[in-house]
């Protein structure tokens, strides 16, 4: 056993760092330095830079424009991007609908959609959840009526993150109301410019405009926009959940946040010493960093398995649970270290330390981390059933 990356992978890490040093736009760096929220235009600008380099979709097959990186190189790339706090690209096209179209789409769909997802010319959002279909996603009611060449869509989707910036939405819609819950669902691509679609953004608890609600009122969608089989949408949706599990732990984000905590601690005085020298806060920082290391090691085990082509082992199943808990704990500690400074909400420059300015908003917003992508309670249900074998007990 060993913990070292191979010489080729170390070389690749150097290549990524050199690329970041040369190509991460100078005017975005001050925001990255303090983890300020990036605007949509800034995210898309960075998307285009990564696209030019061939790294916008590291996990796509070469045939569809992917760079052909192995699992470890993809991990390293993601890790370095997270460490440098570059804008996180929208996952809905690159990580979700893109791979779905690659796996289940027709050649026509692949030609029509994939290049523009890759280049960022078309922006996507996700239409899964509904006001009454959250964790119990399969109870969704947005209806698709078959009119021969088209479906007519009626209903409401919620948590359609970034729909206000998006051109397209991929939806789960009900095409058969008589079938068992999961089997009457279809995966459908809908142009948001179609008449009858209404998008209404709303603020998150973090005071930022990430979410939208999206209404469909007799929206006509051509049948060629079905991905996979009609009534086979659940299969497509489930396949998406398994992608890139070693990135879901957000190890890089948490590592960066812990360093941010230390930087805040080093700049915050209590009488004659800084909080970094304070035994109570030093122990809290050390405990958090140790928890982070344990997640990192588990992630490396999952990664080393993926590199060898193994199916994801038990260690990879809980990465989302612990990763999301840890990212919340790291912001929790940042808030604690800030003391009074934690009261400031989108402060003007100079009111608090620059690196503190976005913490309260992110702390609040990141309550979502244990909810999105399937709440941690749902994740625990899945592990109890699939790994511990507790699901079949009467």
């Amino acid at each position: 056993m060993d913990l070292a990356f191979s010489p080729e992978h170390t070389k690749f890490r150097d290549e990524v760092r050199a690329f970041l040093a040369a190509s991460f736009p100078a005017h975005l760096r001050p925001k990255a330095e303090i983890d300020a929220l990036f605007e949509h235009d800034e995210i898309m600008e960075w998307h285009r830079v990564l696209y030019q380099k061939g790294w916008a979709a590291p996990h796509w097959p070469v045939a569809h424009g992917g760079p052909g990186l192995d699992a470890t190189s993809r991990f390293i790339l993601n890790d370095e991007l997270e460490e440098a706090a570059t804008p996180a690209l929208s996952p809905f096209g690159l990580v979700m609908v893109g791979p779905a179209i690659i796996e289940f789409g027709t050649p026509d769909q692949q030609r029509r959609f994939l290049p523009k997802i890759l280049s960022g010319d078309e922006v996507w959002c996700q239409g899964y959840s509904e006001p009454n279909a959250g964790s119990d996603l399969a109870s969704l009611k947005t209806s698709a009526e078959d009119t021969g060449s088209h479906f007519v869509i009626n209903g409401q989707k919620t948590w359609t993150t970034h729909a206000q910036y998006a051109d397209w939405i991929f939806c789960l819609v009900r095409t058969d109301t008589r079938a068992k819950k999961q089997s009457g669902i279809t995966f459908l691509l809908i142009d948001l410019k179609t008449p009858g679609v209404t998008v209404k953004p709303f603020l998150t608890i973090g005071g930022t405009p990430a979410f939208s609600e999206t209404w469909f009122d007799n929206v006509k969608v051509p049948k060629q926009n079905v991905v996979g089989e009609i009534n086979g949408g659940w299969t497509v949706a489930k396949a998406l959940l398994g992608h890139e599990r070693t990135q879901i732990a957000a190890v890089g984000v948490t590592g960066r946040t812990i360093r941010k905590c230390k930087r805040i601690a080093a700049r915050t005085r209590l009488g004659d010493h800084t909080l970094l020298e304070d035994p109570v806060f030093r122990d809290k920082l050390a405990r958090l960093e140790i928890r982070h290391r344990s997640l990192e090691m588990a992630n490396w085990r999952a990664l080393a398995g993926a590199q060898l082509g193994h199916a994801p082992g038990p260690e990879s199943s809980f990465l989302k649970i612990r990763g999301s808990e840890l990212v919340q704990q790291s912001y929790e500690l940042a808030m604690e270290l800030m003391g009074h400074d934690a009261l400031a909400w989108f402060p003007d420059p100079g009111v608090v330390l620059d690196l503190e300015a976005s913490v309260a908003s992110l702390f609040c917003y990141l309550r979502a981390a244990t909810i999105y992508g399937g709440s941690n309670e749902i994740q625990r249900n899945i592990i109890a059933k699939q790994i511990l074998g507790l699901g079949s007990l009467g």
Binding site: E289, S294, W300, A304, N381, L388, G389
Partner: protein, 374 residues
């Protein structure tokens, strides 16, 4: 980066699994906890024949020249049935001898242990030093033919039956040196103490002379720290075995115990608790591998970071898993009759040995790397 077991490691694990199943199930430990010695010299020799006692020692001393990863995998298996032989105590004392001793000292003190003819113990902890190996009052001074050692050592694990003790002592110049002391020598008082996990330790009083060749010539402080780091990793390895064992017992119980007309494992609140036990066990195993790999390497800063963080993790994860194992067993879990309590108490002992969480947390935070580049 690679975490696959080699063919040799797989065979080692299988041999250990066969041993715990056939020769030393947990019932054996339960029986021996009332015995004055608490372990069997015959089984000790068997372990020597299997090569386990010499696993990590150089071939010149009669060992196999294996890695600490090999050792961690072995100890994990022995932890699953709480095998009571003094393998960890002997290995940490052995590592101190291997590190600081010369070839003749290896031959004289290490080889008999590797051959299963003797066991060793490391006498380092003292009253006012807690877990700091350098904060000691035991003195070593030149005497006629060698050295005079005076002082008291506490909770010398498995020291009640060890043939020889590796003793740390401060020298007049301020340095720390290690001495090999015969447990039966005049002026060495060994007071056996029962420990909460059904094992034995010794309180040792020293007012004795040793020959000059009993002083290990190498850097005593560095050898002792490496030995104690091995002890911490060994505790983590045994701890993972304990966590796996109680996790298996608990899920089995959830699948068979019925209340309210249903298997209790069908209740979501218990399922989620079991998932958290599973997660903590996997995290702990990941930390164990990292620590064992770093113990094999020669980067001291990486070693300290990996070992201290693993031992802190054991204090949190190991404690959580064994505590929840009792909780999920309900009333039966707090009886002496049920095995889960044996595992629980062994975990408590592991957490109090070779540095507790607070000690390792302080070491972790004292590394220059902890505050670099801020």
């Amino acid at each position: 980066m690679n975490f696959e077991l080699t063919e040799d490691q797989r065979m080692l694990v299988e041999a250990a699994q066969g041993f715990t199943r056939k020769q030393s199930p947990v019932a054996r430990m339960r029986k021996l906890r009332d015995d004055a010695i608490g372990w069997s010299p015959e089984v000790w020799r068997q372990m020597a024949d299997l090569g386990w006692l010499g696993l990590v020692f150089p071939e010149a001393a009669g060992g196999l020249g294996g890695s600490f990863v090999d050792l961690a995998l072995l100890l994990e298996q022995l932890g699953t049935t709480l095998v009571p032989e003094p393998i960890v105590a002997s290995l940490v004392a052995g590592v101190a001898i291997a590190e600081a001793g010369d070839a003749a000292q290896h031959q004289a003190h290490l080889t008999p242990m590797i051959e299963g003819k003797a066991s060793l113990a490391l006498a380092w902890a003292e009253l006012d030093g807690r877990y700091d190996p350098a904060r000691i009052a035991t003195r070593a001074e030149r005497a006629s033919g060698g050295y005079r050692l005076t002082g008291h050592k506490r909770f010398v694990l498995d020291g009640h039956a060890a043939r020889q003790l590796v003793v740390s002592a401060a020298e007049p110049g301020g340095g720390l040196a290690l001495f090999v002391v015969d447990a039966g020598a005049p002026g060495v008082t060994v007071q056996p103490v029962r420990t909460l996990d059904g094992r034995r330790a010794a309180m040792i009083a020293l007012d004795t002379e040793v020959a000059a060749d009993r002083r290990l010539g190498g850097d005593g402080r560095a050898a002792l720290e490496r030995a104690l780091d091995l002890g911490a990793v060994a505790a983590c390895a045994e701890g993972v075995g304990i966590m796996r064992a109680v996790f298996a017992m608990t899920t089995e119980y959830l699948k068979t115990r019925e209340q309210f007309g249903a298997k209790i494992g069908s209740f979501q609140v218990l399922q989620h608790r079991a998932v958290d036990m599973f997660i903590e066990t996997e995290l702990m195993y990941s930390m164990l591998l990292a620590a064992a790999i770093r113990l094999d390497g020669d980067d001291l800063a990486e070693r300290v970071a990996a070992v201290t963080s693993a031992k802190v993790q054991l204090a949190e994860s190991g404690r959580y898993v064994t505590q929840q194992a009792i909780q999920l067993h309900g009333g039966i879990g707090i009886t002496d009759e049920h095995d889960v309590g044996l595992y629980f108490k062994r975990m408590l002992a592991l957490n109090a040995s070779f540095g507790d969480a607070q000690h390792h947390l302080a070491r972790f935070a004292a590394r220059p790397g902890f505050t670099a580049n801020l």
